[in-house]
Symmetry: C2
Subunit: 389 residues, 2 copies
Amino acid sequence: MKNIAILGSTGSIGKSALQVVEKYPERFRVVALAACKNHELLLEQIKRFKPEVAALSDPEAARALSGKTVVPVLSGEEGLMKAATYEGASFVVSAIVGFAGLAPTLAAIRAGKDIGLANKEALVTAGDLVMSEAGRYGVKVLPVDSEHSAVFQCLNGNGGDFRGDIILTASGGPFLGKRAEELEGVTAGEAINHPNWRMGRKISVDSATLMNKGLEVIEAHHLFNLPPERIKVLVHPQSIVHSMVEFPDGSIIAQMSVPDMKAPIAYALSWPERLPGVIPRLDLTRFDGLSFSKPDTGAFPCLLYAYRALREGGTMPAVLNAANEAAVGAFLAGEIGFNDIPAIIKETMALHARRDLIEEKSVIEADSGARKSSSELIGKIRDKRRKIF
Amino acid sequence: MKNIAILGSTGSIGKSALQVVEKYPERFRVVALAACKNHELLLEQIKRFKPEVAALSDPEAARALSGKTVVPVLSGEEGLMKAATYEGASFVVSAIVGFAGLAPTLAAIRAGKDIGLANKEALVTAGDLVMSEAGRYGVKVLPVDSEHSAVFQCLNGNGGDFRGDIILTASGGPFLGKRAEELEGVTAGEAINHPNWRMGRKISVDSATLMNKGLEVIEAHHLFNLPPERIKVLVHPQSIVHSMVEFPDGSIIAQMSVPDMKAPIAYALSWPERLPGVIPRLDLTRFDGLSFSKPDTGAFPCLLYAYRALREGGTMPAVLNAANEAAVGAFLAGEIGFNDIPAIIKETMALHARRDLIEEKSVIEADSGARKSSSELIGKIRDKRRKIF
């Protein structure tokens, strides 16, 4: 029996993780659930999964919940950290979206928990720190992203001295094949309408800009200890091959399945075992063809900026991420256009003076600084748009 | 340094194996070369690779060679067995085509050599015996067929308690998509014109009839200890995915590369390591799409007969194989038509009274009996055709 804490339980990954737990009650038990502010859904989850503790980082939401359940409800950042380090859990699913996921992930590692990592930003902004702390505390960081889980599966038994390349696949998102000019007027509604995966709004936009793949390149660098030039990206619109490993002899090992996040979640939870019947079988005869192409970094330059940030290292990936979070937020709010997202990221990175990343403080400073720069750039665009309309 | 004996050095696999040896002289040395009768090519190979011993199973060819080299030339069946068990070799590449490969493969196993197995018939006709002898003598049987090598690679680190399915891919051969009626008049020249692989004539015809895949299903049963219903076949005309493993959780691991036999040969020779730069890299963007479909066992019933022989077990797979060898030989000689091949196999199997396979003698008897039956059936067809033309 594995006792699990789920951080971000009301989000897309959190809900899938709970489905996996529910399907294999003899293997997993949920002991802590934490979310941001969706107290209604959290209450339902509490009733169903009977955790020992719950947390909401939004204090008002925590207050709203606490009268309705006998389970102790922790509140605020502090409550989130307590859930992340809850002594009854041996495994933490880190599925909070965005930079907010870094602190509880680090706290869980330092409390000796193995991590199922769905939060990208912890590795993107502070990968060296996270991985060195994981090494120091002897905990495993198991990928929950479908791409990194695929690489992890492909490397099984080969990972030790892996000297090859990895190929991350990208669906290409809803705007695959469009030119930059055609992207000018696209709406948030169009951007979050992903062809293959049902995901949260922020990650759906990241998928449309290819920044999601850029963040994954940075994650992969940390998870698999590979230099940027050995991490490649191919667009694969069918989202069946989730990623690949290319060995030096010329052989490629690929992982495939129907696109369903329960698969990588269950693999992280049960590794090194595999559970039976997690997702439906893949029927390869249903596809006209599995195709692969080079990403169009002219129309989708975010991927290039991610590689650049990774090469520059230090605080730059945190800046890339902060600028992206700010820009995507503004795009979803209808304040800026789709092509403004890469423009803001590029400009914010240009404004930032890279520093080495020695401690958490440097990350937080870089993040804050970048958010400030981005916010000003967003303000300028908004003002300009107001004048036009 | 691995000292290697190559049985069948003048054939397609043997020549590829020598290319691998030549490319990695610091890793491999050829100490014994054996072939059937191509003494001219064997002489060239002797000059280039300087083995300690050579063998030709055809005595006349052996005589022709022996005057031309200082290397001892062994002759006949006995010479072949000596090469297979040569004490200077620790690894034997078993690449003699057909039933003739069984005896030297068993001899090599009993002499404690690890085996790189390219000969299909040893496992098809006497798989239980070969694998139990391998266990008894503590030798490894490493697959050299691209499909089984792919499965072996996909299972790396997962093989121990594998409880899933394997999916062998088939190119479909040159007649993919044709109906049975359209196959009536095809010639040997058309049948051996394989779209993706350059192979010997016999295996090319097997590929055109899908019997090659049937033999591989039987091989896979023995190599991976799986029941027939857990071994599936999908037609994949691009020959890029060489085979797959389907885990119980719904995840598939696939092995891909450009179609080049040097890859599985090198993997068997260097396993568990991988050598750098064995074959060119695979560029997945070059394909319109990788496609998969169910085999058409109406037009290509040999695959069904192989499953049937495997399920019946005992001497039946040896009968299937003998009938196939006889029928393919007659087809290549222009004596029978393409559709006569499955007809002869079906009829020969129906004529055979299945027996348990306890010792080599039962295999040899079943093989001889089936060849006799097939030969009579071929004779009848030939006579009928003579009357017509």
